[in-house]
Structure formats: C-alpha cells, structure tokens
C-alpha cells in the first residue's frame, strides 16, 4: 500500500521556521559562551563572540522580515489568524478532554507559536537595551540582563519539549517531515489533525 501525502506547510512557513531555528541556535550558542564562565574561559575572544551574538540578533529580525516580505505574506497572515484562533475543540484539548479533533495546528502548537513569537520580540528588545546600555546609561536597567537570561531559560524549556515531540516521540515525530518536505502522511494527519484533514 503506498502512502498518500497531504501538504501541511507552505514553503514560506517552512522558511520562517528554519530561519528562526538557525538564528535561535546561533544566538543560543554564542550567548552561552558569553554567559557560562567555563565556556567563556575555554573560548575566550569575548569581543568577537559579542559581535557574533549582536549581528546574529540583527540578522534574525532582518531574515524574518525578508522571508515575510519576499515570501507569501498573505499566506503568513492567514497562518497567524489560524494560530490565533482557539476553537471549542482546542479548549477541550487544552483541558485534557478527549476526543478533541484538532486543526492543522493543535492547541499546544498554537500556544508554542504565540510564546515563541513573544519571546523573540522580548529577546530583541532586551538585547537591544543591553547593547544600548553599554553605550549610554539612559538605556541601562538593572533588570534587563535578568529578563534576557530568563527568556533563555524559558526558551530552552520550550526547545527541549519541541525537539522531543519533533524528533523523539514516536507518535508525533512524523511532523518533522511536514516541516522539512512540506507534506505528511494522510493517515497520520487524519489521526493527529482530524479536523484539518477533514477540511482539506
């Protein structure tokens, strides 16, 4: 029996995801070198690592803007509305009641998207304040570094959960195919995203 596939993510959606992943991991790596004393001692070159971290942060927002402008912006706006809306079944899903047939995104993925977007914005804002504060005391707040570090810890929790579900957990890891090639097996979609599969 040959599996039938359905398209889950557009090229623009996948570009947003992988641009975000690439810059996040670059920033996490360079950020940890700046943050952890053992890594800082091993790597050294703090001024260079700071530059990498700063420009990766600028690049993150520039690349996201570029994808949004050069890609299918209308499609992204539709996706945003889809992620925003929590229907009756989504609220059942969050409350742990089953069955709760899910759309293209389940309620957990919608929450993850909202938090990731908020964290991205806050990372950018606090990072910019750290950079400005080093140059002008008017932009210096004692809490900025705590916010920036706290975001890192919160993002790590999300990332570990996300990687577990996308790469390890047998029932859900098929989703990775959707985010790389764009398509997923129809029977998998029917099981995990019943409402979407029925619509498409």
């Amino acid at each position: 029996m040959t599996a039938r596939y359905v398209r889950r993510f557009s090229r623009t959606e996948r570009a947003v995801h992988w641009v975000n992943a690439l810059f996040f991991l670059t920033l996490l790596g360079s950020g940890l070198v700046l943050y952890l004393p053992s890594l800082a001692a091993a790597v050294g070159r703090r001024p260079t690592v700071k530059d990498v971290h700063f420009w990766a942060g600028i690049g993150w927002f520039a690349a996201l803007a570029l994808v949004a402008l050069a890609g299918d912006s209308r499609g992204l706006a539709r996706t945003a509305r889809e992620l925003d809306a929590f229907g009756v079944e989504d609220r059942r899903w969050l409350a742990g009641r089953r069955p709760a047939p899910q759309g293209r995104f389940n309620a957990g993925q919608k929450l993850n998207a909202a938090l990731t977007a908020a964290f991205t914005l806050l990372f950018g804002a606090s990072g910019l304040l750290l950079w400005l504060g080093e140059r002008d005391t008017r932009y210096r707040f004692a809490s900025t570094v705590i916010l920036h570090d706290g975001l890192m810890y919160a993002s790590l929790v999300l990332l570990v959960g996300h990687l577990y579900l996308a790469v390890v957990h047998p029932a859900t890891r098929h989703a990775l195919r959707g985010m790389t090639l764009g398509t997923v097996r129809e029977d998998w979609a029917a099981e995990h995203h019943e409402r979407w599969n029925a619509e498409s």
Partner: protein, 230 residues
Amino acid sequence: MDEPQAGGERRYGRAVFLGTVATGLSSLLWARPLWSRVSHAAGPLESLVPLVPAGGWRIYTVAATMPRFDPATWRLRIGGRVARPAVLSYDELRALPHAAEVRDFHCVTGWTVHGVHWRGVRVRDLLDHVGASPAAGGVRFVSAEQPYVDSLTMQQALLPDVLLAWEMNGQPLPREHGAPIRLVMPEMYGYKNVKWVEGIDVVAHADNGYWENLGYDRDAWVGRSNGYSS
C-alpha cells in the same frame, strides 16, 4: 458527539502573545528587586541547586584570551610617585600583611554575587610599603589583559576595604577571576575591580579607565552612579 465550532472561537493566541510581551517588558521594572528577594531567601538553596552558573558570576573580558598565571615568572610592578618602586613576586606579595573582606559583588549590568570571601593585602598597606607620595592624586591598576586599565583616586584607594586579593572563597583566585590577583573595591561596580593586575602606578590624578573611556562613570559607587540611584 461533535460540538459545533461556530461562534466558539477565542483569540487566545494574541492574548498569550500580548500578555507575555507585556509581562516581559514590565519585568524591566520588577525583575531585579524580585530576584534580589528570591536569591536572598534562597541563599542556602542556591548553593545546592545552582539556578545560575558558577554562583551567579559572569565572566567579562575585553581581550582575545585570558592571561595565564605562571608563579615562576609572574611579577607585580609598583611604580610612579613612590619612594621605593618595587617588583614583587607572588610569594613576596603574599608575605605582606593579610586582610580579609566578605562583601557583595555588584556588576553594573545588574547582577550581584552575595557574600564573596576575599583575602589579600590592603591597597593602603601596599601603598605604605612602597612609600606612595602623599601629594599623589590617583592610583592606576594595569591589567595583564590588555588594554584593560582602571584608576581610583588616592582617597578611594586608601579606603580600608580596598584589597588586592589572591584568594576567593578560600581558594587561590581562579584564572577567570583574574589570577593571581585582582583589585577588590567593594563599594564600586565590578568594572573598577581590575582583574589580572600586573602593574600599579601612583599618579598625579585618577584617569579614565577602559570602560570610562566608553562612557561609564569614573566614580562608580554602587547604587549611585551609571544612571542608577537607590
């Protein structure tokens, strides 16, 4: 039994997004006071479960590599407006009268490490040892980590709690904290606490240091400088 979806849509996505952004931005006002309270309350707990790496220290450097300490070749040079310029070995330095301080270490970027145990020699004893000129106005501390340098006024350097420390929390000063010696000026922010000190010059006037050339305050009193007021 299917419930109808129609009419049941709620905008939770934007609510979570905006709520998180608002919480995050407002935390610029409350995160630091809250964190001080939590870390004071959780002091003993923190040492068991380190919430932040290395007891809350971050390691800030300005050069490509951290200086390495070799006890055989290391020397502390003291000169400038002094009666008896000196070049001290590590052992000679530690033969000077010892002094200890237990103080909080405050970084100007917002983090604090509570109750650090320092042991070393008081800078006033060292200045006495070399016969610093009473007319001199400043003391410059030169780091082996070039081009890091910073100065105190003579008045500040003579404060009784200013140390050149070779021991931190009962251990020889670790490399990333400035081995073998760093300046400890507890009443001022961390950037005044020069690491890897290899030269001390008694000078006419305190001059700008590394960060002061980039706009930081020269008199970096904790809580009353660099845009902070407490």
